[in-house]
Amino acid sequence: MREIAFRDALNEALAEEMERDPDVFLMGEEVAEYNGAYKVSKGLLDQFGPRRVIDTPIVELGFAGLGVGAALAGLKPVIEMMTFNFAILALDQVVNHAAKARYMSNGQLSCPIVIRGAGGAGGSLAAQHSQSLEAHYAHVPGLKVMMPATPKDAKGMLKTAIRDPDPVIFIESEVLYGYKGEVPEEEYLIPMGKGEIKREGGDCTVITWSRMVHTVMDAAEELKNSDGVDVEVLDLRTLRPLDKDLIRESVKKTNRVVVVEEAWPWASVGASVADFVARDLFDWLDAPVGRVNQRDVPMPYAFNLEPLSLPSVERVAEAVKKACYL
């Protein structure tokens, strides 16, 4: 199968959905003439013209709200946030409007908007550009949250997000844009709310998503070699709604769970996943649920401190061993 980069998989998803549905349009900072800050929208202006690929001023709250209005009018806006650090400015329109339109109008209105862009640490970008803020969104009823780990998932998930009638927050790890992987030529969709077992194993389930899938896969390989531990890697892919069935199935097999996320530990998505596992699967657990997170500090710039702050292969391996009483 052909291999393409994560950013090119996202680009294909956008192009295909814009081709398929004339109501889909892309709006954001530098998406058109600049071809995207991370080149996700490369070539789309040439292909679809300035009516559907729209450069905005630096005005996150404003263009997020325009997207909300356009979605209420029946269009399907894809709003690119250059990074989710900047999307903090747009939270009013996302939380107070996009997320509530359907419920507050009792089903009269629908807000089919996708808000997507880069998230997580990029590498020496310091505290204001290195945040994993998915919990902000996953906390809010009315929003759906997707975070792909591979080029194949990125493409299929973004196509699904664009077709979804609800507001979808779609966070792309900044360090994955150049990551290459197999992507089918033919059309496919990855369903909303469905995780995937990225590696099968019988000893411990590691629940993770986005960039951390790769860290966990490396840790799994190492644990197999060093200790003969077979780790099952469960990539959630969608953080809300949660794939509870897949978690149940895996945990009933392994009886041990570690949750690994790039975000801070307190009040995080991982905390809620651990809460779900501890309560729903209590009788199936042979050990307390383990967790690995970014250290509870704003991201330092210093070259030696950033890797210490992020979850590492070593920290994941340690947490798995602890869950396995090794």
Binding site: G65, V68, A73, Q93, M104, S105, Q108, P141
Partner: protein, 334 residues
């Protein structure tokens, strides 16, 4: 770019005079009743009355077509009524009933009717503005000659969302009409205590939007300005901005002791009551008899009483529907 406050310019006949007067009376009587019902706890939560400002909603929305869109603030009962939503559906909503326009999910601050293209009821100051521009952008993208009207107060003008929206609307020349209801107070903070430039239309003008200031207590001046603005927008000349100088006669909400303004100031503005104002105008020209006024008023009062009866007989949404419409899928599929 800017013009001085508009003088009264529209010559009206008897029918149109009666129509405009009746619309203002409908809003006034509805809201007076709301205040009573609030005291009886039939209506709860926050309740913001529009009494005194009726000329703005009436004059502006009268200039629109049914397929034009309107977005309001939390002080939006009058706009919803004027956009064609029934007094029954509005009153039932305030009762929290399933027969309400938002089926009891929204209450006073969140009236919605997709059918009437009334897109809320926005209770975050200034936050209705970006969606106003977005709805207008959608019409422009789809080549529809519709107009989207956003109403907002003077308090909104301090918000970033106001400035972001003005810039984008002007930059992309969207078919939006911005109606600033300048009632001189952002909740309890007087205009000169919250605005560096209290002539608010100048702020919109600085973005290149044709902007005027209009006497918002005079429904004929409002109507004239709104018709001109809507016609220009529909001709494809981009957004327009009107600052209406108006005044709310009642408190900000039902919890407001009004310590921030003099009673004398309120009384002075009441002399310019838009209903009295139009009534005098029509009487002076022999376009309205006392009996005709009473008939219009009675009709408005009866409509409100029917709405109250309707709401009194209403029912609450079944509790099993609590989780419905968070998402497009039914709850059990999540």
């Amino acid at each position: 770019m800017t013009e001085k406050p508009q003088a009264r310019v529209e010559n009206i006949d008897r029918d149109r005079g009666h129509y405009l007067l009746h619309q203002m009376l409908r809003i006034r009587r509805l809201e007076e009743r709301c205040a009573d019902l609030y005291a009886q706890t039939k209506i709860r939560g926050f309740l913001h009355l529009y009494i005194g400002e009726e000329a703005v909603a009436v004059g502006v929305i009268d200039a629109l077509r049914d397929d034009d869109a309107v977005l309001g603030t939390y002080r939006e009962h009058g706009h919803a009524l004027m956009k064609g939503m029934s007094a029954e559906s509005i009153m039932a909503e305030m009762y929290g009933n399933v027969e309400g326009c938002s089926m009891g999910r929204g209450g006073s601050m969140h009236l919605f009717s997709k059918e009437h293209r009334f897109f809320g009821g926005h209770a975050i100051v200034g936050a209705g503005l970006p969606p106003t521009v977005g709805l207008a952008l959608a019409d422009k993208m789809l080549g529809r000659d519709r107009v989207t009207v956003g109403f907002f107060g003077d308090g909104s003008v301090a918000e970033g969302e106001f400035h972001e929206s003005m810039n984008l609307a002007a930059l992309w020349q969207v078919p939006a009409l911005f109606c600033c209801e300048n009632n001189l107070y952002a909740m309890g903070t007087a205009l000169d205590r919250h605005q560096s430039q209290p002539d608010l239309h100048l702020k919109a003008a600085s973005y290149g939007i044709p902007s005027i200031q209009v006497d918002g207590m005079d429904v004929l001046a409002v109507s004239h300005a709104a018709r001109r603005a809507v016609a220009a927008i529909r001709d494809g000349s981009g957004p327009q901005f009107i600052e209406f100088l108006t005044y709310r006669f009642r408190a900000h909400s039902m919890f407001d002791p009004e310590l921030y303004r003099d009673k004398a100031e309120v009384e002075k503005w009441k002399e310019r009551d838009p209903i009295k104002n139009l009534t005098t105008y029509l009487r002076e020209r022999d376009l309205l008899t006392e009996q005709e006024y009473d008939e219009l008023d009675q009709s408005a009062r009866q409509e409100v009483e029917r709405a109250v009866e309707f709401a009194e007989k209403g029912s609450l949404e079944p509790v099993e529907d609590l989780l419905r419409f968070v998402y497009s899928e039914p709850e059990e599929d999540r």
